[in-house]
Symmetry: C2
Subunit: 107 residues, 2 copies
DNA sequence: TCTTCATATGAACCACAATTCATACGTATT
DNA sequence: AATACGTATGAATTGTGGTTCATATGAAGA
């Protein structure tokens, strides 16, 4: 492990409900900002801000296309992580706190 | 995946420098609170607060021993995650932001 | 070049998580 | 039972990241 802090920023993304939703949405297929705002029903600037920090951490990448900007997931990076999250965290995350949170309702 | 929000709390621990340090320290061997405060050079109440939330999320567990409380890492849960972090995030986390953070210096 | 559409950006604001500090609790020792 | 030690806890404060809103940018079309 490079140094203890290398992953701090990385995990802060996964601990953000909106960013996590973006990741999962982009996992299905690349999308532009408008598509994301409407499918997640979240305000445009929120989406843009979130995408910008995801991009900075190499989790997503952009491709301009006309006036649109197509965002896509850097699958090679994040997919193994998502898979592990699915098997492991899913198995062990049984604390009450986790259950209470309803991120989809908020963001 | 159970629901999008199940992992929110879980990852919020990994995105916290102090908690991450605790995890890494406990990975070496189980320790009591005093040992943790002195090896990480962090105030006792900070450690206690952090440990308490890690415990709530099943990341660590406690065993009372006299007046001490021995904390240990729930390796089966967290180790595969740490391993994946090591191989993957290490490879892709090259953004400037990540490099700037010096968690060991702060917490 | 003017307008429109798609997106980004900055700054003020707000919410929540972390820190701090004082104190309480529990266990052992005398 | 009184004290000391190890740890936990609560409440007030601080700090940080997320939200909001207004506005800027940039590309395309008229």
């Amino acid at each position: 492990m490079k140094n203890n802090s290398s992953y701090y920023v990385f995990f802060s993304h996964l601990s953000n409900p909106l960013k996590m939703r973006l990741i999962l949405e982009l996992q299905k297929s690349p999308k532009n900002v408008n598509q994301l705002t409407s499918s997640l029903r979240v305000e445009q600037s929120k989406i843009s801000h979130a995408l910008s920090s995801l991009k900075q951490c190499n989790i997503v990448s952009v491709k301009p296309e006309g006036k649109q900007r197509i965002y896509s997931l850097n699958s090679r990076m994040i997919l193994p992580m998502l898979k592990l999250i699915d098997t492991h965290a899913n198995k062990y995350c049984n604390c009450e706190t986790c259950g209470e949170i309803q991120c989809s309702a908020k963001n």
